[in-house]
Structures are given as C-alpha cells and as structure tokens.
C-alpha cells in the first residue's frame, strides 16, 4: 500500500515537473539583443526594444519606458506587459528581424497597419 502511494506520488511529481518545465519556454539567448523599429511608429518616432536574456525587456518610445517580460515558445516571442497584454512577435532571418503584431492577438501575416517591424542593432541583452 505504502509502495503504491509512493509510486503514485513519484509519477505525479514527474508529471508536474514536466508540465512546469514545459511551461518555461525555450532558450531566449538567440533573440536577446537590442532592436529598433524599421519605420517611425505612427510616422512620429522610432521604438527601441531591448530584450534581455533574463526574460526582462524594455520598450522605449518618445522617451517613455515600459518594462515587460518575454518568453520564447514554438519559435515565437511572447511579450507580456503588466496590464495583461500579450504581443506575439515572429522572428525571421535568425532573429535579426522581428515582426510584432500590435493587435494583441496573432495573425499569420501580421496585419498591415498593426504590424511593427524591428531590426536588430546589437546582440545580447
């Protein structure tokens, strides 16, 4: 009986560890770095995006700084802001170019008008 419960506990533990580890996402190192928007946002100002390897990040627009966290999952970058928004960012060219869907959802083509393109200007976070 005790052995059965121990076995059951071990299996459950493994399942939970697997699930928790699975939820941690993939390595960030490939995409860590500093990026700049290719075009000025709304025709006004460029956006600086700093993705740090520890999962933190900074978005700078018109001198205003917004902090966020980010993870990599299924080859896409998910940016989480404090109020609860998620930006889905699709990296291309090995992470040199990032396409951010500014709708707060994800659309296969990154919708024109709501798509921001960033180019890497510096490696590392």
């Amino acid at each position: 009986m005790k052995k059965d419960i121990l076995k059951l506990g071990a299996v459950l533990g493994l399942i939970l560890v697997g699930l928790v580890l699975g939820g941690c996402g993939e390595s960030r190192s490939q995409f860590a770095g500093t990026y700049k928007s290719v075009e000025p946002f709304g025709g006004k100002d460029y956006i600086d995006l700093d993705l740090q390897e520890n999962g933190k990040g900074i978005w700078i627009l018109a001198g205003k700084t917004v902090e966020f966290t980010w993870v990599v999952n299924a080859g896409k970058i998910f940016i989480y802001t404090k109020p609860g928004a998620i930006l889905v960012v699709t990296p291309t060219e090995g992470g040199k170019i990032l396409s951010a869907d500014m709708t707060g959802d994800w659309h296969p083509g990154c919708p024109p008008g709501s798509c921001l393109t960033f180019k890497r200007v510096k490696d590392g976070g």
């Binding site: 009986m1 059965d4 419960i5 059951l8 459950l12 399942i15 939970l16 699930l19 928790v20 699975g22 939820g23 946002f41 709304g42 006004k44 100002d45 978005w59 627009l61 018109a62 001198g63 205003k64 917004v66 999952n73 299924a74 896409k76 998910f78 989480y80 802001t81 404090k82 109020p83 609860g84 928004a85 998620i86 930006l87 889905v88 500014m102 709708t103 707060g104 959802d105 994800w106 659309h107 296969p108 709501s114």
Partner: protein, 477 residues
C-alpha cells in the same frame, strides 16, 4: 475459502492421525498447488514453507485471502462440498506438504470426529467472516458513491485559499476586485450629448477595446487605443491629441458588461493629466446613434498548442466509446477519462496561474462577467482547475471532482456558444496564451469533456484513493 490452521486433535484423536496418511511432496517457490475452479482431489497439510491463498477474477484481479505456514492445512472445503476449488494456492517459498487423497480424507473424517468438528467450526467461522467482509465491501462501495457538501467545500475552499495566497506573492498579482477604491470618478456623458459633440466635432472619440473588436465595428473616425496596450501606445496617442487640439473632450467608449475597457482607459488618461475625459453612459447604445465603420468579423489566428492541443482532441473519442455498452460502463474508461481530464485541466491551469491579468482580459472578452467578478473569477478558476484536476488524478472524491469539472465545462460551453453567436473576434483564452480559436469544434471538445465527467460520476470505482483506502489491483482483504 479452504485453508486453516491444523487442529491439535488431528494428531491426538483415537482414530487415524494425519501423519499416518498421504505422502510428502516438495513444492518450489512460486508453484501453483491448487487452481481455482478445478475439480478437488487432494487435501494438503503444510510441513514446511509458506503458501498464499487467493481468488482471481476473469480479468485477473487478484484478492489475497490469507497466508499459511507450517502446521496449517488447506483444500478441505472443496472435498467436503464436492464443488470446484473456490480459491488458488501458490507456494511463497520452497514448501513441503503432506498430500492426502479424497478417499483418505473421507476416511480420516469418519475416524476422527474431533477433526470433523474442527473443520465444521472453521467453515462456520469463515461464513461469518465472509459476511462481514461482504458488508465492509458494500459499505465501502456505498461510501465511494457518496458525495457530500464537504467535498465541494474542500475543493472550492482549497482553490480559493491557494489563489489568494499565491496572488499575494505573485509578481504579476492583480487586485481582487478591479478598480476597488479608485478615487478618480470619471464623468459620464449621455448618448445624445455625445452625438451632438460628434456632429460639431468638439470631441475626440476613443475606442478602448481590443483592436479586433474595433476593426469589426467602431464609431466612424474614432481612434483605437486598446487599454491593454496603453503603456506602449500612449506616446503616439499624445501626438495625435496634440495635433487634433488639446481642448477637445475625449469621449471614451467600450462595450463590455464589466466596463473594464472604457472606464479603465478614461482613468489612465486622467492619470496622464488629460482634463476633459468622459465615458459614454450607455455603453452598448453607441452603434444605434453614431455613424459606424464596419468590417466582417475575422477570427484571430490560431497558434499551435502542441501537446496540449493534441490532448484536447482526445475527449471527442468519448462519443464513440459510449456507443459500446460494455465500455460505456467500464471503470477502466473512468480511469482513462479521469487521467485525460486531469492532464488537460492541470496543464491549462498552469498556463494561466502565473499571469492572472492576461486571463482576466480573456474573461472580459466574453462579456458575461460583471466588473466586480472578473478578477475573482480569473484568480480562482485556474486554481480550481488545478485542484480539481489533481483530485481526479489521485482518485480522491472523484464524483464531486467530476461534478465540478462538469460545471466548469457547462460554463465554458455557454461562453463559447455566446461568443460564436455574437461573432466575437476573440480567442478562447483557455490556455492563457493567444491563438486558440473559438468555434464549434471547441464546443464539441468541451461537450466531450462534459460527457466524460458524467461517465466518471456514474461508473468510477477503480484506482481510487478514497474513503476506506486505496483500491488497486491485487488488493488485500
């Protein structure tokens, strides 16, 4: 049962003595001495070693009855009743036995009334013990089927306490009631007044909803500033306000029952120092009053959920499985349903627990929850999914757990159907990330899960850790 300890009188009676009968046999460990169901031919007395007496069902579930050592005997019941063997006997270690034939055994009884009386006494004891075991098993099964309010209080209470405690220490914590105690009261404006300002171009109309809702339908020439992207997009909005005229009134509108978008955005704009900010009083009335820009609803794209997405399809198999009567009632199917539902609910819960704010906005999207309930629901639901999922997996209070999972599925189905019928451009939000589509397939998956809950409720009785102990293969009585 047909095994017992040797009575003293067996060797001391005036008649035949056991040691004068039969012949000695050696049995290696693990060998089957007697098989359940076979015709009885011999009676055995153990001289050395230990044996196990057990019953076995057709699907190989074994019930251990007893273990016997030197001096004990077995095999007499079938010889007395003439019925096939009622249990099997297997050597646990190398054993030496005296093997007595049926004729010798009958002769022994004829000449040894003390032994005969002892066997009758043992048979009577077994009958009484058997009745007690049957009663204990019935009581256990009845208790297993019972559900009480305590089960629900336990699971819901545990979920609530965990959600509140973890929220305190979570970096992404959210207030229990959104906007509770906010001093900034935003003035409201009536639809007709707002419409007049619109005509006279005295106001800037700001749509606070997510861009998918805005794209689907918005007041003509209104600006979209999704409240969730406020921090990121406010600098651009500032430019726009500066261009349009700082003195114009900002009329913020949303359209959700919780007023989460419009009132929040208005508060944020006030915090930024903008003076003339108002919200529309009738938050659902604007489509009837203002000229609109509309576009057909487009569902946001769906991202591959990987293993979780595969798991979610498995409940659909229940629609086929319940058509096969023996499987429909099988406790093995209950175990399959429990493990599957637990895996789905636990994995989905873990994806939401650490980011309650993201999930809260998904709850807002469904437009069914009042403002005060959004955060509470967003905090408690993932913990409820996790706790109830674990109860299902461990086999604790499974009927109550199945009821709760079933109730959650009913709520999800209502939300999904409402979203589909109202063409809401939203994602499910079930996994805490973007990308899971809201469609009739999703409804079918949830309906499959609901049917699984009903199956568990009706037939689950195996691999359960519940009142009275853990029921497992080869259980001992």
């Amino acid at each position: 049962m047909e095994a017992t300890e040797k009575p003293e009188g067996a060797e001391t009676s005036a008649g035949l003595r056991l040691c004068q009968l039969g012949h000695e046999v050696s049995v290696p460990a693990g060998a089957r001495i007697v098989s359940q169901g076979e015709a009885p031919e011999f009676f055995y007395v153990i001289q050395a070693g230990r044996v196990r007496v057990f019953r076995e069902t057709a699907d190989r579930i074994q019930t251990n009855l007893t273990e016997l050592g030197p001096g004990a005997y077995f095999g007499e019941v079938a010889l007395v009743t003439g019925q096939p063997r009622s249990a099997s006997v297997e050597a646990l270690e190398d054993a030496k036995l005296i093997k007595v034939s049926k004729e010798e055994f009958d002769r022994l009884l004829d000449h040894n009334p003390q032994l005969a009386r002892h066997i009758i006494q043992q048979l009577a004891n077994w009958l009484v013990a058997g009745d007690r075991r049957v009663e204990a098993e019935v009581v256990h099964q009845v208790k297993l089927r019972q559900i009480s309010w305590f089960d629900y209080v336990l699971m819901l209470g545990l979920s609530l306490v965990l959600s509140l405690v973890v929220n305190i220490y979570n970096d992404n914590r959210i207030p229990l009631v959104h906007g509770w105690g906010e001093k900034n009261v935003i003035p409201e404006i009536a639809l007709n007044q707002a419409e007049e300002m619109y005509r006279k171009q005295q106001a800037i109309f700001v749509d606070a909803r997510k861009s998918a809702f805005y794209s689907q339908q918005h007041i003509k020439d209104a600006t979209n500033l999704p409240v969730i992207l406020f921090d990121l997009m406010y600098p651009m909005f500032q430019f726009m306000v500066a261009q349009e005229g700082k003195d114009k009134t900002l009329v913020v509108y949303g359209g959700t029952f919780s007023r989460r978008m419009d009132i929040d955005l208005a508060r944020l704009l006030k915090h930024k120092g903008l003076e003339h900010v108002v919200v529309l009083k009738d938050y659902t009335g604007w489509p009837k009053v203002f000229p609109l820009q509309e576009k057909a609803a487009t569902t946001p794209g769906s991202l591959d959920l990987g293993f979780a997405g595969f798991l979610e399809w498995l409940p659909v198999s229940i629609f086929v499985l319940i058509l096969i009567p023996p499987i429909r009632r099988s406790p093995y199917l209950s175990v399959f349903c429990r493990v599957l539902l637990a895996a789905i609910f636990i994995s989905f819960a873990l994806s939401k627990i650490m980011r309650p704010a993201v999930f809260a906005l998904n709850v807002v999207d469904y437009n069914l929850t009042p403002a005060w309930g959004v955060n509470l629901w967003s905090l408690a639901l993932p913990w409820g999914e996790l706790v109830v999922g674990l109860f299902l997996l461990l086999g604790i209070r499974t009927r109550a757990a199945a009821t709760l999972i079933g109730a959650m599925n009913v709520i999800f189905i209502v939300g999904l159907v409402n979203a589909i019928l109202h063409h809401m451009p939203i994602n499910c939000g079930c996994v805490g990330e973007v990308g899971e589509p809201v469609n009739w397939w999703k409804v079918m998956k949830n309906t499959g899960m609901l049917v699984m809950c009903i199956q568990i409720f009706l037939y689950d009785r195996f691999l359960v850790l519940d009142r009275g102990g853990f029921i497992f293969r080869g259980r001992k009585i």
